[in-house]
Point group: D2
Chain length 248, copies 4
C-alpha cells in the first residue's frame, strides 16, 4: 500500500529522497482564504534545519521552499498547495563508504528486503530529511489552526537522565524554547542536557530524550470515536517520524 499520504480532510502527500534532486509536498484540503507565502514556512523550516549547532547532525542542507500552487494573490485558493525543496550539492562519493554496508539503526536492510535494492547514497526515502515536507505542511496547519485559537508548541523535557521540571506546560513560550540549541525551556536543565550530549558525542555515541507537545485551545469533540481517536492519530503521526519510539 502506498504509504506516503497522511490525513483525510487536511491531507499531506510527500515524495523525495535525501540524495535525489529534491522533495515534493502536496497539501490537499486547506480551505481557501488563508494568507500564505513562503515567509510563513521559513521560521519552522529554519528550526528543522540540521547543522545549526554542534549538538545535532552536522550536515548543511538547502531548505528553501518553492510554492507551485494553492496560493493566489497571497491567499490559499482551496486547490492543493504544491511545494518543492531542491536538494543542495549532491557530491558523488559523499556516502560511498557505506555503499556495501547496512548501517545499524537505519532502514537500510529493510529497504533492501522490501524493494530488492536500496539507495546506498544515504537514507533515501527513510532519511529524516523527509521531515522537511512535514514541517512545511505543519506550518500551514499551525497557521490555519491559529485562526480558531489553537496554539501548539513543543519542547524537550528530557535527555538521557536529565529531566526538566516544567510545572505549567501551557506557560512555556517559543522564545524560551528557542533560547538554547537543545530546545529545553528551562535554562539550567538545557545547559545540563548540552553537557551530557557533548560528553556522549566524545564517545562517538548519541543519546535519546523526550519531547512534550502542548496544544492550547482545542475545542471538545475533535477526533473521531473508536479508531480515529485524536490520541490515536497524534500517536500515529509522531510514531511515523524515524527517531520516535514512544508516545504517551
Amino acid at each position: 500500500m502506498a504509504g506516503n499520504t497522511f490525513g483525510k480532510l487536511f491531507r499531506v502527500t510527500t515524495a523525495g529522497v535525501s540524495h535525489g534532486p529534491g522533495y515534493l509536498c502536496i497539501i490537499d484540503g486547506c480551505p481557501a482564504g488563508l494568507e500564505l507565502s513562503v515567509d510563513d514556512l521559513l521560521p519552522d523550516l529554519r528550526r528543522r534545519k540540521p547543522g545549526q549547532s554542534k549538538l545535532t547532525t552536522q550536515r548543511d542542507e538547502d531548505d528553501l521552499p518553492e510554492i507551485w500552487s494553492g496560493v493566489f494573490e497571497g491567499k490559499t485558493d482551496g486547490t492543493p498547495i504544491g511545494i518543492s525543496f531542491r536538494n543542495g550539492d549532491q557530491r558523488s562519493g559523499d556516502y560511498g563508504d557505506i555503499k556495501d554496508k547496512y548501517r545499524p539503526g537505519h532502514a537500510d536492510f529493510t529497504f533492501d528486503a522490501k524493494y530488492g535494492f536500496r539507495d546506498y547514497r544515504g537514507g533515501g526515502r527513510s532519511s529524516a530529511r523527509e521531515t522537511i515536507c512535514r514541517v512545511a505542511a505543519g506550518a500551514v496547519a499551525k497557521k490555519l489552526l491559529s485562526r480558531i485559537g489553537v496554539r501548539i508548541l513543543g519542547y524537550v523535557t528530557r535527555v538521557g537522565d536529565v529531566v526538566a521540571d516544567i510545572p505549567d506546560p501551557t506557560a512555556v513560550t517559543l522564545e524560551q524554547v528557542e533560547a538554547t540549541p537543545v530546545r529545553c525551556p528551562v535554562p539550567e536543565t538545557a545547559a545540563a542536557m548540552i553537557d551530557l550530549i557533548d560528553a556522549v558525542r566524545k564517545d562517538r555515541d548519541s543519546i535519546g530524550g523526550v519531547c512534550e507537545m502542548v496544544a492550547v485551545g482545542v475545542p471538545p469533540g475533535w477526533g473521531e470515536p473508536v479508531f480515529d481517536k485524536l490520541k490515536a492519530d497524534l500517536g500515529k503521526a509522531l510514531l511515523s517520524l524515524p527517531a520516535v519510539t514512544g508516545f504517551e
Copy 2:
C-alpha cells in the same frame, strides 16, 4: 470524518453501542480459502469477556458471535466477513443514576460536545465493549498470519509498581499467560499484581499497568515507509483503545 474503519488491505468496520441491540463487524479484505468458523473466534472472545474474575469490570456480557457472510463451506470466500454480537439483557434503569451526570475518565462530555447529546445508558459508542468486534477481527487476522508463520502473543508486564522480569519475551506461552486472571506469565509477579489490584479496589480505585506484545516470524519489509510505518500503524491501533494512553 467517519472514523469507524481501520486498515486498508485488511479492513475492519464496526458499529454498535453498549446498550443498544448489539454490534456489527465487517472484515473486508480477508483472502479466500482460510478455514474459519465461530469456533475460531471463541477463544479470544472468551479471553476478552469481562466478569471472568474479581479483578476486572464486573459485568456479564453475552459475546456469542453470528457469522453472516464471508464463509462458505467452512472457508473464507474472499467476500467481506460479516459478524454480529447481540447485546444481552438491556434492563432500563441499569445506568439511570448517571443519566444527568458526566462520568470522570469517560467520553461523556466529549460526545455531548460533538454530537449534541449522548447515550446516557452507558459508554455508548465509546464503551470498551466495542472491542468485541476488534477481538473477532483480530482472531481472523491471527489465524491468517499464522499461515505464514507469524505468531502474536500479549501479556501484562506491570501493574502499578509491580514489574515482571521477562528475560525472553519470545519464550512466553499462551498457557503461562492464561494461568492467572491478571495475565502476567510470571506466577509470583502475577500474585503480587493481584494483591495490589485487590488492595486498590478496596479503596474503590483502579490502577494502570503495562502490556507487552510479541510478534514472532514477521518478515522484513512489512509496513510502508514514511507515514504508514509498521510502528506508526501499530501505535495507532493500540492508542485507539479506550484505556491505552501510551505506546512504545
Copy 3:
C-alpha cells in the same frame, strides 16, 4: 483491495451474499439528530423488492431490516448505523443445476478466477440482492438531503426502442413513477414498455433500458475538483451496480 465500502464523509460498507444467512450494512458519517426508524427504510426497500410484478426477477425475498445501532430515542446519534437483513428460505437444491456451469452475463467465471472458487448457490457477492444495503443507505441519505431541500427521483425513460418523452424531468412525481410496474411516468409509454418486455420474455430473453435520475435543489459547489467531481462519483456509484453499463 477491499472494495466493499463507498463514500468518504457518508460512508457505506456492506457484507453478505444472496444465499448465505443475510446482509450487514454499516452507514458511517450520518450526522446526529436525524429522525430515523425502520419505517423510513421500508418504502424504498419495498420498491426494490423483486417479484412485485411479472416484469422482473421472479423471486421472493424477505427484506425486513433490523437496525442494530446508530439510532437512539428515535434519532441518529452520530455513531455508525448498523442494519441487517436476514435472507429468507435458503432451500438447498434451488440452484443446484448451475453448480458446475458458469452462467452467461454473470460474474461466475470472474469470481472463480479471482478467488479460486465461487459460491455456486447463486450470484453470491455479485448478486443484485446486495443492492438491498444500498437502498437502505440511500433511504437514509435521501432523508438527510431532504432536510436541506435536495430532492431526488429516478424513473425509466426507455426500454428497448420504446422511449418516453418527458419534457420537464423536474415535474415528474413519485406517484407517476409508481403508477406502473415498469416505473415510466408516462402512462402510454409505460404500457408499450410492458408489452415489449412481455414479448421478449416469451422468447426467454430480457431487454435493457435507460433510467433518468433528477436531483433538485443541489447547491453549487458540491463535489471536489479534479478526481472527485460530482459527475465522476455519481458515475462510479451507478456503474458499480451489476446491471448498469453506461452513465451520462
Copy 4:
C-alpha cells in the same frame, strides 16, 4: 474532502493551476525495478499537448517534465515518483477580459460558489491542463502494465454524426491513430471528421465526439466486487476529465 488523489495501490496526487508556476504530480505505489526516465513520459505528453493542429485548443504549452524522485540509477526504487511541469510564459493580461465574467461551460461559477473566489486568469484548477499530470502518471502505468502483457490504446470513433466503422478494435494500431490530428484510425472517416470540425469552427462553435479505449491482455478478476468494480473505477476515472460527459 480533498479530491486531488486517485487510486489506492497505484495512487496519483496532483497539484497546480493553469496560470500558476506549474504542476506537481506524485505517483505512489509504483513497484521498484521498472526502467523509467523522462523519455518514457514524452511520447504521451506530446500527444496530449494542445496546439498541435488547427483542430484543438490553440495554446502553446511547455510540457517538459522533471522527475524529482522515485527513480534511482534508471529504475523506479519503490518510493513515490515526484514529477513537476513548469508552466510557460504567464503573461498578465492574457485572460484579463474574462476577469469579471463567468465563462459558459466552465467551472467558473462553481469555484466561486465553493471557495469564495476564483482564479480569474483561466481555468485554474479546473483547467484541462491538469491532465498533463494524469498523462505522465498514465505513461508510467502503461509501461508497468505492459510488463504483464496488458496493452491499452484509445482513439476517436465519432465526431458529431460522423461515425467510424471499426470492426476489430483490438487490431487498431498506434500508428493508425496518430496518422491524423483527429486520431480516428480510419483515414476517410478522419478526413470527414476534420472537415466537420473546420466547418463548426467557422461558426465559432465546437463539437463533441466519442472515444473508444481498448485494453488487451487484462487478466480475469481485476477490480473488486460491489463498489470498486473495474467498470466503476474506469467510469470514475474517465468522468473526472473535464470534457467527458458519458461512459459506456
